[in-house]
Symmetry: C2
Subunit: 431 residues, 2 copies
């Protein structure tokens, strides 16, 4: 085989990047792979948009069937994004026994079981390196390199926008609103930035990471999600004083055959490598029984970092296809001994908690009394200086406590007459 034909669906930013890279590196790829990669068709609803690459009009089409029905095309690259019609396109491609490369995290997080079942039945593969961390090879590493490990924990900083906002809050002492404004100005936040700040995008990626690490596609609804929109500058500051940095973490933990999946703002120790991951960068921490600890760091979004991953996937498939070998079934289809996914109320964690209390004798005793009744033991307390008349912030770090008890305790404390505003609680990971 001299040449392998591919079809591209979705010719937006990422699509243009992929075309540009495949062209710019066509000789290098041919040298490395032994065959050339030919973009036979590109489909998009909008063929007039201005793009960074010029493509011959004979290659362009608005009709996706020209790709799906072309027996010459062996690989379909889906870069449409969103659920529909991306899902239908992928399913049709798989039914036509075409391999699929996709960057679509939302779709995988919501419909992976269906997609991989279809792929398995048709003996074709779905590759998705670009769906998490763009050019960071975390998908391939979890799937292949770490194949012999029992993965224990994953901590991901996987949303660049949130990380940029939190980094600005930490480093510049800007509040969330101002940080987001700057992120927008710099092109780091999209219009739908709330999906990022609310943790939804991170949750999509966590579902994918967990599937790779634990062999099971967990429904998105079972992931606990809490965004960073309520993180205040004071909490960022108090965390710093305590030696911590606040990051939006996607957390997966496996213990006693039970899985914990959650996305929330988290205090992590400042001395830990992950705390130095600033700006729009992403990082994924993985612990496994053989490797102990690893961190993968890099740009988690953008045209070229994403195109790097997409072309890497294409190259992988081309490498497997060129000898005419039938590519085996997706490696993901195996079951592990994970029995269930815990709900958030079942987890335990250390907590950072902050109260705004009226400065009156006995307040601290009441708070700690309630915490004690719920078996929450306090690791440190500091009562801050008064900000406004008679209202003082009280900041505590707890030892490991159950989330359920914590919620009950906070509810009681919140009802105290001396407590102004809802108490703040953030989870702490020591890593």
């Amino acid at each position: 085989m001299e040449r392998i034909d591919i079809g591209l669906v979705g010719f937006g930013t990422i699509g243009s990047g992929v075309v540009k890279v495949l062209r710019r590196r066509s000789k290098l790829l041919k040298k490395k792979l032994g065959v050339s990669i030919n973009i036979r068709k590109i489909c998009d609803v909008n063929l007039r948009r201005k793009r960074i690459v010029q493509v011959d009009s004979s290659v362009l089409t608005r009709d996706v069937r020209q790709i799906l029905d072309d027996p010459q095309i062996k690989i379909v690259v889906e870069l449409v994004g969103g659920i529909h019609p991306a899902k239908e396109i992928i399913i049709q491609a798989l039914r036509s026994r075409k391999h699929v490369v996709t960057a679509n995290k939302a779709l995988l997080a919501e419909c992976a079981e269906e997609i991989f079942k279809e792929a398995g039945q048709n003996d074709v593969r779905v590759f998705f390196e670009a769906s998490v961390g763009a050019g960071i090879p975390i998908v391939k590493s979890l799937r292949e390199s770490l194949i012999a490990n029992r993965i224990e924990r994953i901590y991901g900083i996987v949303n660049g926008t949130s990380n940029y906002v939190l980094s600005q809050m930490t480093q510049q002492s800007w509040d969330l609103r101002r940080s987001l404004k700057i992120a927008r100005q710099k092109g780091y936040a999209e219009k739908r930035a709330f999906l990022d700040l609310k943790g939804i995008d991170s949750a999509h990626k966590l579902v994918i990471l967990a599937a790779l690490a634990f062999g099971r596609w967990v429904p998105l609804s079972k992931v606990y999600v809490e965004g960073i929109t309520d993180v205040s500058l004071s909490d960022v500051d108090y965390a710093r004083e305590l030696g911590y940095v606040i990051k939006l973490l996607a957390v997966a933990k496996s213990e006693n055959d039970e899985l914990e999946l959650r996305v929330h703002p988290t205090l992590i120790p400042r001395r830990h490598l992950l705390s130095s991951v600033g700006g729009v960068y992403n990082a994924i921490y993985v612990s496994g029984d053989l490797i102990e600890e690893q961190v993968y760091y890099g740009r988690g979004a953008g045209m070229f970092p994403t195109a790097s991953a997409v072309v890497g996937d294409i190259a992988d498939l081309v490498d497997a296809l060129k000898d005419g070998a039938c590519v085996d079934k997706p490696q993901l289809v195996y079951k592990t001994n994970i029995r269930r996914v815990k709900s958030i109320s079942e987890i335990t964690s250390r907590y950072y908690i902050r109260f705004l209390a009226i400065d009156r004798p006995g307040v601290l005793a009441k708070i700690s009394g309630i915490l004690g009744q719920h078996k929450i033991s306090i690791a440190s307390v500091s009562q801050k200086e008064r900000k406004s008349a008679r209202i003082v912030p009280i900041v505590m770090m707890t030892h490991e406590a159950s989330e359920r008890s914590m919620r009950l305790a906070l509810e009681k404390i919140g009802c105290l007459e001396t407590i102004k505003r809802k108490p703040v609680a953030l989870r702490v990971e020591r890593l």
Copy 2:
């Protein structure tokens, strides 16, 4: 095919780890790969040593021909280490058309061309993930995931022993001798620790990383190597004051089709992620035109982290072999446009320089005069407090300067009557 047979040569620490992992994860691997991996023979000169795994005596042999001549064995795992007889064993295995997995960085750094030529001629592959960074998947990532990138720079902290020693010097303010002693007590330094501290081990790994990144096996003799044995505690302290940390870096840079390969103690900014890589951990920084910047971090040595990589390689080969497909030629055999490797005198760098001078008027003027004559411009100077009578340390940071000029200037300065001891110069990378 139900089962793939492998042979293991070298049953020391790593070998035992590999056997243990293959056994402990046999079911999982079978589920993921669809075939089982069978250890058919294990060869070692010493069959009596106490090991962490019990192996049936029928599997053990002292005669390597029992592996090399067995047509049933498809994959030979070489874990002997060193050049001979590891090289002969690998060459023979390749000639018998067996695929090879090795962790042998010294051998690859010295004889890779010969080995890959043999592999190419026999249409078999040589995999070597464990040779750099143990379980950190840097080899596979450079070879496969980053395939479309033009790699620009690599900075590797790839020797755990040196990094442990430097970390202790930085954090505990222990001198090199004491740090090494503690490293030995903790089992982090081998008897031949001088290979580590002298930078030889890092140079081996740099040759491998450069081959993956730039498609060319550079002879070890063309790598400039300077170890950490001359790094003093004062330099560690002065570097800290300037906002830097000293790390033993393996550096590869490609510019204008020329390659720069060097290993030396290097000042890196404290705010950079790499500076937080402490203890025996390894990290590899990669910059490429698409990905921009990435860092891979993890344990770079040890039985299980290394076994993780070896088993990952075995799994890769098994995955390719199980359909009876002939595995294609090694992807490494391609030429890039690298024309030549620069000698150290041709590079340019920023420098940290330190002099011990007699505290006498005009000394600083003389030093800076000589630097100026050699077109070396000074970014900052600080004259430290006197330590002993009348001898003062002078510390300077320079702007980018040529190594050749720097050497000439230092030689002249070293001859000044007012200068006591040989001047110290360390390269600075801003990353």
